[in-house]
Symmetry: C2
Subunit: 438 residues, 2 copies
């Protein structure tokens, strides 16, 4: 049963508990295992990757079988419906269109003072995309990672995904990869796949940035290799927070909460509403839908542990609680969502109004569905083209321009006790050019 | 003596060795200490912070002495020269001007198809700036961290810096902080300061993002708390790579190499040149300057271990080696730096021509001096306003717009085995409105 509490209860503590649901002690124990896998792959390359694939994924490969063949990718198109191919293509097109908006561009400013300053954006050389396997094997994840990398202009995009039973990869995943222009795919997963991408092996190229969600082992591995390579984020289980008033349809709200809960027993689904009647109706509607939900066991767990309805006195208070939680997904199912929007400070993605269920954004609206979780929206944003770009600062001073700032640099360098910093300007502006004095 | 090798030597291995100079095994041992500090501060707050400040910084405080007083900040202005205040103000002004350029702006696009999409940028609520103490106590570091946070619009900026001897903080640091608008300063440092900012204590507020360089304990602490809060990067020791042809002045080049080496015995200073004569002259000039360098011992260590001159056959080959090293600072001391620039793919900051020593960028050109080190320029960029901003995706579909994509979403959700995702659209577009069927 989805719990209902009201504003007088200790809402803050409840939200904190839900937000912190992954900060558990077991991570530390798993870290030792992950470290061992990383070190083995770093030292032994393919041999270690094949060993852990046999151990954890129960699949025995030779190194030259790791890469998915062109024939497999082409054959995948025969194994899915025309309607699914069309839907993947529509999603790919819309995701690409959104990600092409406002991509940061290189610029250079030539000042009147003979100073040239700028920023030059370039893509990373190689990106590694992790696509989870098993139950969570989603073509949408492929698109949301590969399309931004493609838009950024990354010359080499490598995808890894755990081998399915019988060594096959989901054909929908292969179709999505191909539609996004990715044809270098390896059937490896887990910490060993992250290690292979971070350090490189005989078969798998070392990449510059690794993106994509995974289980707890993948997440720990990403954190440990961060610094050696770039990563997108440390993704936790998914979450939705819905703010609804009396104009919301309880069936819609209940379904949206379930759409989050069905992802994972650790998923969180929270409703903040000003309407006690709606709260009750959502509770009833959700219970009814849950009765014959195909993923009933896991979905019920998520609802029981990390589901919550809070009846609040005003939308302002709802916004305040929402900001403290900083949800990955935020739905504003209220009469005037644009009026409420300015009160929202932290959220990964915001879905406005009664006709914008989160699923629209999960699949094809265009914005990325890889979003900060567990409160990370306080400081982080969606995966994007920027994840695959970096910039170099550009600085050029003329001799005249340098002379104008020479004293200030000298003063600062001397204050910081860095004599050669001061010298590097002095030797260039010295009037008599008597370099030999240095 | 600064070593000279030529292109036929194993340049790649040498550059790799220099790039990897911090990836050592001792990190793992220090991690246990840092973890203990983090856990103690998380559990005991101020008490643990005071304990470790006594243990590591040999300073005994009460909790209410941790914050630097307004009187101390104001008094700092009397303890530094007018010239230094002017120089700090000039640097602050120029850094602010650069960081105000091309700050990402919120945008919303209202499509003809009744779809509204956008990105809304907001600053983090609280930023924590770490400013190192001791020998590396730099007012420039204060400006380079505080000014971007201010430009981003962060409402609360908190600075921490280790207590100097006699409980005093460098007056230049206090002046720089005040000029950048930061007046909430705590005299704490090390892993205990990072822990206090990440978790909050009775005295120190929990922040959303922590930036700024520090020693190895600070860096390890930042990596461990990443995910709980945002961080800017994992800064390693500084490095410069200079590409020079026969038009470069050997005294200038030698001084610029020393200006890097004087930072730290782990700093790296590399010259790639097409001119064997220049190589020899730089070697001699550097040796001469090193003889009576005020920081001779440490600077010589850096030059001996992580200094290198490589004589290459062409600037193209130099660019290639530079890209593989991905230097934090890159100087192009060549006749046509703008002609060489397009060949450069990875570098934190690029200094063009003969009158642009790195010190210009270190202090006051405007671009940030907090840059990716140890090869991180392959995937990362300078600290900037973006470090303190994040965005929320904005999505609104009308009923009509939702109906148009309903089939595609249904197809994708069904392929991914997520029935409530499909339902969340179905229940909204159903023609007969018979909600009770769900």
């Amino acid at each position: 049963m989805l719990r209902i509490i009201n504003q007088q209860a200790d809402v803050r503590a409840e939200l904190q508990r839900i937000c912190d649901r992954t900060h558990d002690e077991q991570v530390l124990h798993k870290e030792a295992t992950v470290r061992e896998v990383l070190q083995a792959v770093q030292r032994q390359g393919d041999k270690a990757v094949l060993h852990y694939t046999a151990e954890f994924d129960h699949q025995t490969f030779k190194a030259d079988e790791l890469r998915v063949t062109a024939a497999e990718i082409d054959a995948a198109y025969q194994q899915v419906s025309k309607q699914l191919i069309d839907s993947i293509q529509l999603a790919s097109k819309q995701i690409e269109a959104f990600h092409r908006q406002r991509v940061p561009k290189s610029w250079v400013h030539f000042g009147d003072d003979e100073v040239v300053l700028g920023k030059r954006y370039t893509p990373v050389d190689r990106a590694g995309l992790y696509v989870p396997g098993g139950r969570a094997c989603y073509p949408s994840t492929v698109l949301m990672n590969a399309v931004p990398a493609k838009v950024a202009g990354v010359p080499r995009i490598v995808m890894v995904t755990p081998p399915g039973t019988g060594k096959g990869i989901s054909p929908a995943v292969l179709v999505a990869a191909n539609e996004a222009g990715v044809r270098e795919i390896y059937r490896i997963g887990g910490a060993q796949a992250i290690a292979a991408l971070a350090y490189g092996t005989e078969t798998i190229p070392k990449v510059d940035v690794i993106t994509g969600p995974g289980n707890i082992y993948v997440t720990i591995a990403k954190k440990l290799v961060y610094g050696n390579v770039g990563i997108d984020s440390l993704a936790g289980p998914s979450e939705v927070l819905i703010i609804a008033d009396g104009t919301a349809n309880p069936i819609h709200v209940a379904t949206d909460l379930l759409a989050q809960a069905e992802h994972d027993p650790m998923a969180a689904a929270i409703l903040l509403t000003t309407d006690a009647g709606l709260a009750k109706n959502v509770q009833v509607a959700l219970e009814r839908q849950l009765m014959d939900h195909p993923r009933q066991v896991d979905t019920s767990k998520a609802i029981a542990h990390y589901g919550l309805i809070v009846v609040v006195e005003s939308l302002e208070i709802a916004a305040q609680f929402s900001n403290e939680f900083a949800p990955e997904h935020l739905e504003l199912e209220v009469e005037d969502p644009w009026g409420l929007l300015p009160l929202i400070r932290h959220a990964g993605a915001i879905f406005l109004g009664h006709s914008t269920p989160e699923a629209v954004g999960d699949y094809l609206a265009g914005p990325n569905h890889t979003l900060p979780t567990s409160g990370a929206a306080r400081y982080a944003s969606a995966l994007g083209v920027e994840t695959f770009l970096k910039h170099s600062s550009i600085i050029q001073y003329s001799q005249t321009a340098l002379e104008k700032v020479a004293t200030a640099i000298d003063t600062l360098a001397t204050a910081e006790g860095l004599p050669s910093h001061a010298d590097s300007v002095r030797c260039r502006v010295r009037k008599d050019n008597s370099d030999s004095e240095l």
